[in-house]
């Protein structure tokens, strides 16, 4: 295990393998586009179906993270703003639209050209509008899988409606790409997804250990394959390798940071443009984030005799598709299970679905768990909306309450 003594955190060896499979993912996306079978997908879309029908897939949200991490958010978002998209809109959407307009001035020269745009509104309502805008620019047709939000238990009428959407999705892909869905191939892909998610869940749960073997930034990077390549076999090796490394850390008492003093929960997407600087500067002060609500969103199983029913259930019940009650319950559960000392709610201006409700959530979670929390404001891609000094002041105030 490589360990840089001068740093407050430990690097993961499995990151080498991660880089390789992300490179493969990128190449496969370009190849699929050239062959006329590339779909752009939202992160909560049931990828198992297009994958089983031989489509290549890429994820504009993930591309937004790349734009952010390369600190090109303001520049690429501005391309979209210059043709009339408001700076008030989601920065994933703006960076995606901007990169379609000017790929030559965008990281990785933009995403490869799509032949279809598959949006699932289980993560937010914005995706439909965003994909409509991309459709206007690229000519690729949009398919929206409507998974209406769920308050409590998913009713039968809800399941039937979402299943009708899945059936239409299969028809849509068949019609546009002249392919058929084979049951055994869908089963194979779904089994791969189930295995990847199970490994991922085990990795996340290992962070209950003290010290936590992973910090927030580690998980935000490591989740990339389970978001974008779940259903493929080749990501399983990566997650097995990562799990092995994480287990070694736990058994050797090695944490993600050198000197763990404070354990916090993170809520929301991270500020991609600042992700290492933000979490590593806190690591120097002994602050680790063993759990977050975002990377825990990829959970569940397709282990069911009827895969379509399993897809309906799993993709309708994702974290962002549930009401505030479920979000508060999840945060409280993570705080208790991971024995956390406090929580940070990142109010992301781009993401209304995730962020509106945090003011109420903060009060209730504090009341139920007895640990303090703080809301910091900013954005995930557009660094113009992130005031580092203000964020620091609020984090300092939180730590003063804990330490």
């Amino acid at each position: 295990m490589s360990e840089k003594k001068e740093k407050a955190y430990r690097l993961l060896e499995a990151n080498n393998l991660l880089n390789q499979i992300m490179f493969r993912y990128m190449l496969e996306g370009h190849s699929a586009s050239e062959e006329g079978r590339l779909a752009w997908l939202t992160s909560g879309f049931p990828v198992e179906i297009p994958l089983a029908m031989s489509l290549g897939v890429v994820y504009p949200e993930q591309y937004g993270a790349v734009v952010g991490s390369q600190k090109m958010g303001p520049q690429v978002c501005a391309f979209a703003e210059n043709i009339g998209y408001s700076p008030e809109l989601c920065s994933y959407a703006r960076s995606s639209i901007g990169s379609v307009l000017k790929p030559e001035e965008s990281p990785l020269e933009g995403l490869p050209k799509p032949q279809a745009l598959l949006a699932g509104n289980n993560i937010c309502g914005t995706v439909m509008k965003w994909y409509d805008a991309v459709s206007q620019l690229t000519g690729a047709p949009v398919f929206l899988l409507d998974t209406p939000p769920i308050d409590d238990v998913q009713g039968d009428h809800h399941k039937e409606y979402v299943k009708a959407g899945l059936e239409r999705l299969i028809t849509f892909i068949s019609d546009h790409f002249d392919v058929e869905l084979q049951d055994d191939r869908l089963r194979e892909v779904a089994d791969n997804s189930t295995r990847a998610i199970a490994l991922w869940t085990e990795i996340l749960q290992s962070c209950k250990a003290k010290p936590s073997p992973l910090n927030c930034a580690d998980r935000f990077l490591a989740m990339a394959p389970v978001v974008s390549q779940r259903g493929t076999e080749y990501i399983l090796e990566y997650y097995e390798t990562l799990l092995k490394e994480v287990r070694e850390r736990v058994s050797n008492g090695l944490g993600a940071i050198m000197d763990e003093k404070v354990r916090l929960l993170w809520d929301n997407i991270p500020p991609w443009f600042n992700i290492f600087r933000f979490f590593n500067s806190l690591a120097k002060r002994g602050v680790v984030f063993p759990a977050d609500t975002y990377t825990h969103a990829w959970s569940g199983s397709f282990d069911s005799p009827d895969i379509l029913n399993a897809i309906v259930s799993l993709y309708s019940n994702v974290y962002l598709n549930k009401g505030i009650d479920a979000k508060i319950d999840k945060m409280c559960e993570l705080i208790m299970d991971y024995d956390l000392d406090g929580f940070v709610l990142f109010s992301v201006r781009s993401c209304k679905r995730y962020s509106l409700g945090q003011m109420v959530s903060k009060e209730i979670v504090m009341e139920r768990t007895g640990v303090p929390g703080v809301i910091i404001e900013g954005d995930m891609v557009d660094s113009r909306l992130f005031n580092e000094a203000q964020v620091q002041t609020r984090i300092d105030a939180l730590l003063e309450m804990i330490v």
């Binding site: 809109l89 509008k129 209406p148 009713g155 009708a164 959407g165 945090q358």
Partner: protein
């Protein structure tokens, strides 16, 4: 629960009659369902006079509409309501608003109706019908008032009458805007949305009789033909329209038509220029909702009806909306387009560039107008509109 005090603020004053009032927000909410329970539905619009009191519940990037609702509640303006129905699966600001409201105002009775975004045919109808049945059951449990088929039938007759009449006068003034000012038309529309009674319908019919009575059959037939087209969100042929003043169209989402009509009125609507069509949620799209049928189960019929209304920016169908806009601009001889964008409204702000593109492709002058429900920058809004109109008057 929620207290309202003035009709001008958007809530009817029916507390004197001791009737329970149920507020609603979504433009295509089935008011007939509430009437069938013997309750009074009332559109909760924004109040430009209510300034920020939302900060304890919402971040500043919640849409202007939702912020204004919370401010109204905090300031005690909604207290004559017995309940409030939030829409689900429409936009992200409204999605969370109902949940936040429940926590922030636990004494309030809050309902929710989830609308399908996609049109999956029968599957969408079945889903929405079940949602409406759930709402009806909850209303009955909450207030002890069952759904009455007789009241439903009476409500539907009244609402169908309202739609028929308003669609006629709306279509008429698209062709001949001198019949009635846009401001007057929106007052009639709002009156019905906030107080759907026989009396308000009678008043609309009196206006129609006065305005259309003296006109020739040929002209009336033109009005009827346009009405039928607009019910389908199409304007498939050119119409011979009145062109006494520059003809303006307006497009957007849930911006309050009354709010903007007041501004336009002050700038000379009806005298210097004519706002002939609005394509707003609480204007054209409410008026051109189709007739409700009695063919089957009431909940199925209500669901079918809602799913047949002109689509909102929160729903699928951008391509069709753009086709309709283009036909409207060309075939109704529109000379200027105003695009309204409510602050922090994702659906408005996402569609605006596409709408603008259509106008530019047709060489029609266009202005995009960011606006908030409080008209906090009223002078700037007026100035931009004034400048747009002056340029337009020089051009035409």
């Amino acid at each position: 629960m929620v207290r309202t005090s003035s009709a001008s603020a958007g809530i009817q004053e029916s507390s004197e009659e001791k009737k329970r009032v149920i507020g609603y927000i979504y433009p295509h909410f089935p008011v007939e369902l509430v009437l069938a329970h013997g309750l009074v539905p009332s559109l909760i619009s924004t109040n430009p006079e209510t300034q920020g009191a939302f900060e304890n519940s919402l971040q500043t990037f919640a849409c202007g509409y939702v912020r204004n609702l919370f401010s109204r509640r905090v300031r005690g303006e909604l207290s004559s309501l017995s309940g409030l129905v939030f829409p689900s699966n429409t936009c992200d600001s409204l999605q969370n608003a109902g949940d936040i409201w429940r926590y922030r105002f636990p004494e309030d009775v809050v309902f929710k109706v989830t609308y399908p975004v996609s049109d999956y045919g029968k599957a969408s109808v079945k889903f929405l019908a079940e949602e409406l049945k759930i709402l009806s059951d909850r209303i009955e449990r909450e207030f002890g008032v069952p759904f009455s088929n007789e009241s439903f039938k009476a409500a539907v007759e009244m609402i169908n009458g309202f739609r028929e009449s308003l669609q006629m006068i709306y279509s008429a003034r698209v062709i001949m805007p001198s019949i009635i000012t846009y401001h007057q038309l929106m007052e009639l529309t709002r009156q019905f949305l906030t107080e759907p009674t026989r009396e308000s319908l009678d008043e609309i019919n009196r206006h129609i009789a006065g305005s259309l009575g003296p006109l020739s059959t040929d002209i009336i037939n033109d009005f009827r033909e346009l009405k039928q087209m607009m019910q389908r969100m199409r304007v498939e042929r050119e119409f011979d329209v009145e062109r006494d003043h520059p003809r303006i169209a307006m497009v957007g989402g849930m911006t309050d038509p009354q709010l903007i009509s007041q501004v336009l009125h002050e700038l000379g609507e009806g005298e210097r220029f004519s706002l002939v069509i609005d394509l707003l949620s609480f204007g054209f799209k409410c008026v051109f909702s189709p007739q409700i049928q009695f063919d089957s189960d009431p909940f199925v019929e209500m669901a079918k009806n809602i799913l047949s209304t002109p689509k909102e920016p929160t729903q699928e169908g951008l391509t069709n909306r753009l086709i309709f806009l283009r036909e409207t601009l060309v075939n109704l001889k529109i000379e200027g387009l105003i695009i309204l964008e409510q602050s922090f409204c994702d659906p408005d702000e996402f569609e605006a560039p596409s709408l603008e593109r259509v106008a530019k492709e047709e060489s029609i002058p266009v202005v995009r107008l960011p606006i908030d429900p409080e008209l906090s920058d009223q002078e700037r809004v007026k100035l931009r509109l004034q400048s747009f109109l002056e340029n337009l008057l020089e051009l035409v």
